[in-house]
Amino acid sequence: MNLALRMLDRTGLLAVIVVFWAIFVVFADGFLNRVTIFGLSRTVAVTAVIGLSQMVVLGIGQMNLAVGAIGGMIGVFTGWLMQSVGLPVWAAVIVALLFAAFVGWVNGIIITKTGINSFIVTLGMASVITGLVFILTKAEAFRDLPDAYTSFGKVPWVELGWLELSPLIFIAVAIAIVMALVYKRTTFGRWMLATGANPRAAELSGVPVNFVVQATHALSGLLAGAAGIMIVSRLGSALPSIGENWLLPSFAAPIVGGTLLSGGAVAVFGTLLGALLIESVSVGLTLMNVPSFWIQLFIGLVLLLAVLIDRARTVAVARGQRGVRQTPAGATSG
């Protein structure tokens, strides 16, 4: 039952993407253009990592409203490390990622030590972080970044005839593969899902719930930071405004992909597909000369539809299993 539903989900989402692509190929001029597809491979990559950053926290039944704030801060921090400190690219990226994980870990520490709702803690932290970024940078961007770094996000990697893909999409897919392995093969992955399914039960069966919550928020911070580093290499400059509009896609990608809001079940590759759907729709509608405002309305409606399906699915699963909870270990859909 569960497996059949999951298969239906994934094929359902794929079918929706195929339908949209068919519509855009016919009606949107230049959708299958090499430039469009290359652009899509760059935006989908960043949105997917933003979605994964939210997905890991949704998996433990919490949320992270600071995904955008952390991404923006790490983008600017990376720019500062390269431009002002003069670190080589690899060193700047490593230091920035460690700092991103640290900030996420601080979120987790505040949540576990005080027992306050993750929504409020991350809302407050997001405001503190963004405020600090703007105070420290005086709203100025870092623009003198090393060529090796900015060309990475601008130059295609794979060129097969008309098909050009950005290296960023390969990074996103690699991250997704690692995440899927973490959930499928490691104890920590099972702990995260067990905590999300039922923290009390997880605690009783020996899962170190507080540690899991802290580590998951650190992981979320790390992924948000990765998304920030990726987008700076794409834009070619580290703008403090990065991350301001990440809230909606961060929830939309994993939820459209089939991640349960209630926690305990994640969809890693579903999140990739969710990001692909959102970005394809944005690009397609833009090419069809639909004003960007209506695109925002449309994405809101897609998210709404996705949560309604999510709900129907949860009810169906509950009925199929006669009220027995899903076993957390089997709840990963790859």
Binding site: I116, I120, M125, G131, W294, L297, I299, G300, L304
Partner: protein, 331 residues
């Protein structure tokens, strides 16, 4: 869960707690006013008081819009989006259709009711967390706000309407009249009416409320509609104050809408509605903002401080709840 049980076990204790909150807020406000009076000669001027009250008149209603749903343990991310959409629609009806102020405002409020019904019905019918529903509807509402006039404001609003929005008697802006009426009505709602008691009961313990015969789903829909009406009122009076219907109205309301009720000491689990303390908290936050402006500090400090205030306020509330719980078990 334990917080809910605690709330029910000792509502009189909570009462005294709320009183203490009141004294704390008033004390900090007095202290801040004294400091600002000494440091900034411009603080104690009639015009500065007008600026202060003009800001509070809007943000307090925004805070009440969020308070309304926090009372039942829900969140509303579409407060700003609803306010913006209603402002643009009302302004459009005034400029394009030339409708008289009263009719345009009434229709605008009706649009707000529609937005609230959408949030409420989607949340109750599907059982999905209000957070996600309102995140999605907020995006849709913002799409309408910006799409309706291609992100351009409406400038030709009725003269009397704008005069009301910008006029004042001494330091007292006309629009504050609306805010005071809203505050009194909310106080009456929660302190004196059956509906208010039912809303508090649903917030305190939904299951218990259901078992005692309260129509929980209907109450939740009403709460979302009231929240949307309050958002709409805030949007309309801000439009009157600005003298134009800007599509950016509401885009920066998210943070203050949560910060003010939290500083007022609201229980995030639901079940408390500190109407008066929320007004004091709005004044406190406006004073901080005012102080930053008067001392010509970097405007980004307000965002940093609001976030810090949220964290400190919830931390203190939490600490006190834990202490209370210990004291109750000890005695």
């Amino acid at each position: 869960m334990s917080a809910v049980a605690l709330h029910q076990a000792s509502s009189s204790r909570l009462q005294s707690l709320a009183n203490k909150e009141w004294a704390w807020l008033a004390g900090i406000i007095l202290l801040m006013s004294a400091v600002l009076t000494i440091l900034e000669p411009n603080f104690l001027t009639q015009f500065n008081f007008y600026v202060l009250l003009r800001g509070i008149a809007v943000t307090l209603i925004v805070a009440y819009a969020q308070l309304m749903v926090l009372v039942v343990g829900q969140l509303n991310l579409s407060v700003g989006a609803t306010g913006g959409m209603v402002a643009i629609c009302t302004g459009g009806m005034m400029e394009v259709w030339g409708l008289p102020t009263v009719i345009a405002v009434a229709l605008g409020l009706l649009i707000g009711v529609g937005a609230g019904l959408a949030n409420g019905l989607l949340t109750t019918r599907t059982g999905i967390n209000g957070f996600i529903i309102t995140l999605a509807t907020a995006s849709a509402f913002t799409g309408v706000t910006i799409g309706l006039n291609d992100a351009k404001p409406w400038y030709n609003l009725p003269k009397r309407f704008v005069e009301f929005g910008q006029g004042r008697i001494g330091p007292f802006p006309y629009i504050a009249i609306v805010t005071i009426i809203v505050g009194i009505l909310l106080w009456v709602l929660f302190e004196r009416t059956l509906l208010g008691r039912q809303i508090l009961a649903v917030g305190g313990n939904q299951r218990a409320a259901e078992l005692s015969g309260i129509p929980v789903d209907r109450i939740l829909v009403i709460v979302f509609v009231l929240s949307a009406i309050l958002s709409s009122i805030a949007g309309i009076i801000l439009m009157a104050r600005l003298g134009s219907a800007q599509p950016s109205i509401g885009s920066d309301w998210l943070l203050p809408s949560f910060a003010i009720p939290i500083v007022a000491g609201i229980a995030l689990s639901g079940g408390s509605a500190p109407v008066i303390n929320t007004a004091l908290a709005a004044l406190l936050i406006a004073l901080i903002d005012n102080g930053l402006v008067l001392t010509k500090a970097d405007p980004y400090w307000i965002q940093f401080l609001l976030g810090l205030i949220i964290l400190v306020a919830v931390g203190l509330n939490r600490l006190r709840a834990v202490r209370e719980a210990k004291r109750t078990t000890a005695s």
